[in-house]
């Protein structure tokens, strides 16, 4: 079956592509496509451990099973708005 993959932020840069349609086995899980994408990536990165995945525009658990035509998005930690949290700032300054 085919699913539509969308990549954002640094994931897009790591994979060198923004969106693509991929053929996956029936019963494929979110965890499965995530591992697949990670293996495809040319560069290793910590980011793979902190991604969220959205299926059809809703956050999905790793165990969720995909269906034909699903829109699957790999989302690095978000950074909208301004003003990084001070907590974060302190940690990184240290």
């Amino acid at each position: 079956m085919r699913v539509r993959m969308l990549y954002f932020g640094i994931v897009k840069d790591l994979l060198g592509v923004e969106r693509e349609t991929v053929e996956v086995p029936v019963g494929m899980t979110v965890e499965g496509v995530l591992s697949f994408s990670r293996l495809r990536s040319s560069k290793e990165s910590e980011i793979w451990n902190s991604l969220a995945v959205a299926v059809n525009r809703e956050y999905a658990q790793r165990s969720a099973v995909l269906h034909e035509g699903d829109e699957v998005a790999l989302l690095p930690p978000v950074s909208g708005g301004l003003d990084r949290a001070e907590k974060n700032e302190e940690r990184q300054d240290a």
Partner: protein, 152 residues
């Protein structure tokens, strides 16, 4: 409720004015603007991108949740995408309410939650390099703990 993702300057004045009604006694506004540095490193500009359809849905959900949770009258959330210069507004949140306590609490909760859950990213162009800004870790429930074995 006014939920928007825009590609041009956010007209804060007009948005705030339109959020006021007779029953309101308090309006709390959060205006996120591009700072000239991040941890002392000089910023030239920021480029924002979003998973636009999902971000809009998430923003609408947050606004509805805030109205229910804090009993405020109305909420506006407007985020801008594309290239922003120092001093420009990237996100504007406006909460109108009969009482000030609820307006402050809702406004703060909205920006804090938006920054953790709405799929928007920024790339920072510094004088000496470019970098995707670190996001805050996703809240539990959005990202399950990674099971390392699945990799290999």
């Amino acid at each position: 409720m006014r939920i928007e993702i825009v590609d041009d300057v956010i007209a804060a004045d007009r948005i705030v004015a339109e959020m006021k009604a007779g029953a309101d006694g308090a309006v709390c506004v959060f205006d996120g603007i591009v700072r000239d540095n991040t941890r002392g490193r000089k910023t030239l500009h920021l480029d924002y991108e979003a998973y636009r359809e999902m971000a809009l849905e998430q923003m609408a959900t947050l606004a509805a949740e805030a109205v229910t949770k804090y009993s405020v009258r109305d909420v506006a959330i407007v985020h801008r995408l594309g290239r922003l210069l120092v001093g420009e507004t990237s996100v504007l949140i406006v909460v109108s309410s009969a009482h000030r306590g609820a307006a402050f609490d809702a406004c703060r909760w909205l920006i804090d939650t938006l920054k953790k859950t709405v799929p928007i990213w920024k790339k920072e162009q510094f004088v000496d390099g470019v970098l995707w800004a670190d996001g805050e870790p996703f809240p539990e429930g959005i990202v399950a703990p990674v099971v390392e074995e699945t990799r290999g």
